[in-house]
Symmetry: C2
Subunit: 164 residues, 2 copies
Amino acid sequence: MSSFLPTEQRLAVTRQRYPAFPRDAAVLIRLIKHIYKRVQDDANAMLRPYGINHPEYNLLMMLYGTEGYTLHPTELADAAGEKSANITRLTNELADKGLIARNASDEDRRKVTLTLTDQGVALIESFLPDVCALLEHQVGDLQSRDVVQLERLLKKFLDQLERE
Amino acid sequence: MSSFLPTEQRLAVTRQRYPAFPRDAAVLIRLIKHIYKRVQDDANAMLRPYGINHPEYNLLMMLYGTEGYTLHPTELADAAGEKSANITRLTNELADKGLIARNASDEDRRKVTLTLTDQGVALIESFLPDVCALLEHQVGDLQSRDVVQLERLLKKFLDQLERE
DNA sequence: TGTATATATTTCATATATGTACTATCTAAG
DNA sequence: CTTAGATAGTACATATATGAAATATATACA
């Protein structure tokens, strides 16, 4: 039924061989990984006709979700969970496609401002119907109680991870 | 406090601009992504001294969790969530390092068997104490009730995702 | 048997991501 | 001022991952 069963069986074997292995933590992390890969693949497939991939989509949506459609590269990197070196490349490509504008900040001359262009906003609003459909399909018929619980617990987990 | 707050604020702005945007689904997926990246980075840092990265670690552990320490490339790809083309490269590298052996299967001559070498098992057992410590640190002081709930809900989510 | 189709794996060109070192600018303490 | 240390962003070499086509073998069935 679930693609995850073999993974659990492997964890059982692992614990026979190395009893101290923390099963629960490992299950959580492997589940996160399976889910992430699946979501990423689905999103890439959906976005391909629009000429962008999932990381580019994320950057565009971070700007779309910001007042003034503008962020600095470092902010964008944090928001999207990308490394700064990668932001340079990705935003250069988005700028080449005319979806965002790169400008020098005059408040701080080390900084660059990244702003959605009208064309960028238009592209986003053209794919949003498909994105919404995909997102709704992904949660599918999960009970809304479950979704709320899951959000609460994932936040707790993320907090814990960041507690260093 | 949490690195996730700005993300939620952006979702609020997004919904002002595009009210149909499914907030809950998007929050879940962004949480998954943040957690995944964090876990991946931490694991890579921990594994570096052992000369392997997180994907390689995963492959080794899938074999370690299998009776006979042996899988075919396709099975390994499914288990580890990697694409088959990537498995070829990764397993070649692991074979070059002497950690696994590649052999032709005589049951089906299209197939290849990938088996942990003694050296591979020894490497795994040398890093397992650090891995266990990291895993335990990652779940930290999450209540065990929460961990159980989270596992249940993530499985439900994964099932839903795979329901096509 | 022979032929069509499916499966397992690899090859290769290309796309994507990272670490590290570097430049420029800012901030603050003397 | 000016100098030391922090911060913002980028360049470049290298590492990692992907899709699509190619190769070999297996299976089904006419």
